[in-house]
């Protein structure tokens, strides 16, 4: 058997534990797909795979048990899925050749405002927009989008996590001082609201922009103002120093988010260690330091009047060096 594993991997196939067999990863930007595509996935799994399908942690489908010599045939069947990518704006050169890259992972999203009342925006739509901005790309980057700071998609474990924010607008003339917002913010969120003289005072520097006060308010005294985003950066799992992402930017608009992501790829391109088979962006930042990362990611970015940037990213609190704290 002769197969170029590097090419297979870039084509979204995996080298598996079963010699001679591969597994195909199907991208589902935003984790949302018309049900009509399920027939195609079922067809590939039954005819070429072992009849099973795995739901990946990145909201895609993985079809295991595909004989390596069937890869070209399977690739031809993927045309409708690649056409869907193209419809999002992803440049696809050959619709018969399977996925053009796999390094930049599927952009994941929580279900967002189409279904979830807590979500501050349509996360799926933004995931699809970002897919068209960054795919195909061989750089290993993980991006996830979540509608509110509950962070159900685990944006804090990504290189770039995008969290929806809304600026709540308060009309004191409609507030009946029921305190629903104040109690909720204090108990479940950051305690950014205080009642003073029968009027709610909001600490804008403390507020996460989660929008819960708007949801709680029975009088529409709190309503939705402009939508913003918070970016948490450089979270990761892995065998070397896993960590939760930290807030890099907040209260920025969608245009700024997209520019920051475009800049991330330029930054990787400048600094990646090409002697390695691949280098995950988090480890590049470990080398260049945060200040270089920050400077280059903010090139040409308009943060707007409310935008805030982290002076440094406070990574601490978790270490794989267990000898520091384990007995024996």
């Amino acid at each position: 058997m002769s197969y170029n594993t590097k090419e297979l991997i870039k084509n979204a196939y995996r080298i598996t534990s079963q010699r001679g067999f591969t597994a195909l990863r199907i991208r589902v930007p935003g984790g949302h797909l018309e049900a009509s595509y399920l027939g195609l996935i079922q067809d590939i799994a039954r005819r070429y795979g072992n009849g099973t399908v795995h739901l990946t942690t990145r909201q895609g489908f993985e079809i295991p048990g595909i004989p390596l010599d069937k890869v070209p045939e399977v690739n031809r069947l993927l045309a409708p899925l690649l056409e869907k990518e193209a419809a999002l704006g992803v440049p696809i050169e050959n619709f018969q050749a399977g996925y053009p890259a796999a390094g930049t992972r599927n952009v994941t999203a929580c279900i967002g405002s189409r279904v979830c009342p807590f979500a501050n925006f349509d996360t799926i739509a933004l995931a699809q927009k970002i897919e068209s901005l960054i795919y195909p790309n061989h750089y290993h980057v993980k991006i996830a989008i979540t509608g509110c700071p509950n962070d159900c998609i685990k944006a804090h474990l990504q290189d770039i996590g995008i969290i929806g924010q809304v600026e709540p607008e308060y009309d004191p003339g409609r507030c009946i001082a029921c305190q629903a917002c104040v109690k909720n913010c204090r108990q479940f969120i950051v305690g950014a609201l205080e009642m003073d003289n029968y009027q709610v005072q909001r600490d804008g520097k403390r507020c996460l922009g989660c929008g819960e006060c708007i949801l709680q308010c029975p009088m529409a005294a709190w309503t939705r103002g402009p939508r913003y985003y918070r970016i948490v950066a450089l979270g990761r799992t892995g065998k070397k120093s896993p960590r939760l992402a930290a807030t890099f930017l907040e209260w920025i608009d969608e245009k700024a988010v997209l520019q920051v992501i475009a800049n991330l790829y330029r930054y990787i391109d400048r600094h990646i260690d090409r002697s390695l088979p691949k280098e995950h962006v988090g480890y590049i930042v470990d080398r260049t330091g945060y200040q270089v990362f920050k400077e280059e990611l903010l090139e040409g970015v308009d943060l707007g009047p409310k935008g805030r940037v982290a002076r440094e990213l406070p990574f601490y609190g978790y270490s794989y060096d267990r000898n520091l704290y384990m007995e024996g």
Partner: protein, 338 residues
């Protein structure tokens, strides 16, 4: 007198009205709904014909136009007390038949309940004039026919949106003159909703034994005491009083009244810490019986006008209509057993 108006004609009519009146009606505020990507339809200033929303029920009722959410009752400065004066433009409110009937309920409470009319309400109310927006059919959850509030009186004019034009029934000035100026004479008979998909049967009498019924225990678990049902209700009139001391001068301040809700914690708190209705099931019982029984015993009409808002705004899917129908069934069973 009846008139047919084009949207442009009706727009010109509104423009002329706006010189002498402030105009309120159902208005849609884009992106201002509770949930992301949704709109808020509620009462607000009407600046043009296209502002008027016909295809949705408002989240809040028109009462806030003349029963403000917050109203300063008096200002105090040291030993002096001043009552704020009111300069109010004549005000037109576009509203549905149920909501117009609701005004008569508010009038009962504020003008005919105590020994004196409520002067703050009365002085606003005299400047308020109504234009009926005819319903071709109700919205989901409406039960005006059951409550007898599908028809209304007390409006200056009635308006119907029919295809691409408006039909105006002018019952008083300035509407007759305006109809003559901006419309074509037409035969316009009032149209009332005659059937709702939802029927509510109000029990004639509610036995005090039902106070202990397990029905209320179910609501005690389900209700979250947010108060939306009452704050959106066109007939709820409860308010609380706040004494606000100005932060920069504690010698000065004001006394306000502010909407309150029998469903929200604190409503029945008394000095010494006693709560009359701590249990949420008891609060719902109190509200429901006020709407369909206690008010009627005092004023001869039911308080509820069947607008359906309380059910639509409840985040816990609690249905007032179902509750009333359940009470009616329980009373019928009791009647049979007796």
């Amino acid at each position: 007198m009846g008139y047919k108006l084009t949207p442009a004609g009706f727009g010109a009519l509104l423009d002329e009205l706006a010189t002498n009146y402030q105009i309120f009606g159902p208005v849609r505020y884009a992106g201002k709904g509770r949930l992301a990507g949704t709109d808020l339809t509620t009462y607000g200033p009407v600046r043009s014909v296209s502002d008027l929303v016909w295809d949705a029920r408002t989240t809040f009722a028109p009462k806030e136009v003349f029963f403000p959410v917050k109203e300063s009752l008096l200002y105090f400065s040291g030993q002096e007390i001043t009552e704020p004066s009111l300069e109010m433009k004549e005000t037109l409110v576009f509203l549905r038949a149920c909501d117009l009937n609701a005004v008569s309920r508010l009038d009962k409470i504020f003008l005919a309940n105590g020994p004196e009319p409520d002067s703050y309400y009365a002085r606003r109310r005299q400047h308020i004039h109504f234009v009926l927006m005819e319903c071709q059919e109700g919205f989901p959850g409406c039960f005006c026919v059951s409550m007898g509030t599908n028809m209304a009186t007390g409006h200056q004019a009635a308006l119907r949106l029919e295809n691409d034009h408006y039909l105006l029934q002018a019952l008083a000035e300035p509407w007759i003159a305006l109809g003559e100026r901006y419309g074509q004479p037409a035969r316009v008979e009032p149209v009332w909703v005659e059937k709702n998909p939802l029927t509510v049967r109000v029990p004639e009498r509610v036995d005090i034994a039902l106070f202990q019924h397990e029905l209320w225990r179910e609501y005690a678990c389900r209700c979250i005491a947010c108060g939306r049902c009452t704050l959106s209700c066109p007939t709820c009139s409860c308010f609380s009083v706040q004494d606000v001391i100005y932060r920069d001068n504690p010698e000065r301040g004001e006394r306000r009244r502010v909407w309150a809700s029998c469903q929200i914690d604190g409503f029945t708190d008394m000095a010494g810490g006693h709560q009359v209705r701590a249990d949420r099931g008891d609060r719902i019982r109190f509200k429901v019986l006020h709407k369909i029984y206690d008010f009627r015993r005092r004023f001869g009409i039911n308080m509820c006008v069947g607008c359906g808002r309380c059910e639509e705004v409840c985040p816990e899917y609690i249905s007032f209509a179902r509750c009333v129908n359940t009470l009616n069934q329980l009373m019928e069973v009791q009647g049979r057993d007796a």
